[in-house]
Subunit: 282 residues, 2 copies
DNA sequence: GGCGTCGATACCTCCCGGGTATCGATCGCG
DNA sequence: CGCGATCGATACCCGGGAGGTATCGACGCC
């Protein structure tokens, strides 16, 4: 199977529409139909059920969608890491660390300091991104190592080392009636009428349906909370850089958040190994 | 990057010889040279340093070799799993479990029984293979789930659940002077002159250099031990099916062996999930 | 029942992957 | 030091297949 065929199939499987998929791929629709047909014939498998009005995935098709995306990421990662290895041989080696914007509290600066103090440390670029994007960046080679937060982020397919575990707090406007409490329970939080939890964008940029305002980053989130339009349950460490107009109250029965350092398997990079070593020694 | 280019590069990088690589790929040498040249130009990276007498990998080249192999495995896995999903929709769903021949003691039958008793259980094909092959089979989709043994097998890139941990024993001819001891230490074992540890084949079928006989499977190994030509340190559970002419003595300071059940990440298969659940409940 | 939408088919063109022949560089050998 | 052998690169040709345009056939909708 060629990556071109996989790219074509993934596009159609995601769009469930030959015309739009062709447009996205920058080709005409007929060659795309033909390519998918050839792929199905060669695999001996029906991937798509199509009428002239609708296209749906078969069971096998959804398997190929999932596996194909992973395979394409792996190919892209190979290309990117090769390019970076070539750069490293001449110029700055560099290392890209990805983490969620606003998370990790003071762990990140401590980690960077500890690593920088090691002999043979290389420059570390920090890449901040929204929730759910980190796995993608690690998988397709745009990042070398990341700080993920279980159970929110999936660590499937990565090598992982646990760094720390913390409880969660609910963030409220400073004047909120519950802001003075010593602690709360999840039931109290979900019962907060008029303070819905916000909606984060999906990787493709669209927002899930439902109540609650749409937010794109932590600054927006905190702003909305301060305005009394939303609330959120966040890891404890966010308290250190909370605005003065916000209050945080521990939520006893919220799941504990574990910060882990994650990197792609097979990574033989000396630099990644050093960073991980520094992290575990923190 | 197309998988064809990757396959070509991997062949050359493994052979370090354009002629042989071309032969292996079933094409002539000139198109291969051209393809590699185009790949390098498109990546803007020198992958191979070639004189007319010798070909060597650059730093970037060895990165692409490693990452490219992983990517090719992922593509192959996508293809295989799609085919199997199509079969599952019509005929028997089936599940392929891979484990090392001779290992796992009575864990495997217990696991199979426990899973078979679950509602909705599907047929499980058991695939036995030599050491070091299991990871490959799981990675490229020929197997769905495997029993691996840390620290011998690498679990990098898989989701894993620990099943059990056991000590190791040294297997000796029944009449050996040390066979009556209650326990030994690694130092005692390595000091056994005339009883070297055997050499296992590498994935490519060749054997590493060194002393000790070459073995291909457990039967051969046990035969050689019985003949007084070798010895081996194996997990305790091997005692249950040891021949009467062999003795096993615990080795106190040998690393503990952990049997884990491993499966590819992103695996959404109902059957794999059921098997893992059965395994953890054992 | 006519029109619009959407995927499939027919047919053409041209690029690119693969083949053969050959060159140029390098090493071994007498 | 020169000859031949080896090996990768280059030159050139050919055929298949990827991509384009035009069009068909099926289906839903007003």
């Amino acid at each position: 199977m060629e990556t071109r065929e996989l790219r074509y199939f993934v596009a159609v499987a995601e769009e469930l529409h030959f015309g739009r998929a062709a447009q996205r791929l920058g080709i005409a629709q007929p060659p795309l139909s033909r390519a998918i047909g050839q792929l199905e014939r060669r695999l001996g498998v029906t991937l798509l059920e199509r009428t002239s009005r609708t296209v749906t995935l078969t069971e096998a098709g959804s398997v190929l969608l999932r596996e194909g995306q992973a395979a394409l990421d792996a190919v892209e990662a190979a290309e990117r890491r090769t390019r970076r290895a070539a750069l490293a041989a001449t110029g700055r080696p560099g290392l890209v660390l990805v983490t969620k914007a606003g998370a990790s509290g003071d762990l990140l600066p401590k980690l960077l300091d500890a690593y920088a103090a090691e002999p043979g440390a290389v420059a570390v670029d920090v890449l901040l991104c929204g929730p759910g994007e980190q796995e993608r960046l690690l998988r397709d080679g745009r990042a070398d190592v990341g700080l993920l937060h279980r159970p929110f982020d999936s660590t499937a397919g990565f090598d992982v080392e646990e760094l720390c575990t913390e409880g969660q707090v609910v963030v409220l406007p400073a004047g909120h009636p519950l802001a003075g409490r010593a602690h709360l329970r999840m039931a109290d939080v979900t019962a907060l009428s008029g303070l819905p939890t916000p909606r984060w964008p999906r990787p493709d940029g669209t927002y899930p349906d439902g109540p609650g305002p749409q937010v794109r980053d932590h600054a927006q989130l905190l702003q909305l909370i301060a305005l009394g339009r939303a609330t959120a349950v966040l890891p404890e460490s966010c308290r250190t850089h909370l605005r003065h107009d916000l209050a945080a109250v521990p939520v006893l029965d919220a799941p504990a958040v574990t910060t882990v350092i994650a990197w792609p398997p097979h990574s033989r990079s000396r630099a990644v190994a050093g960073l991980v070593r520094a992290a575990t020694r923190l």
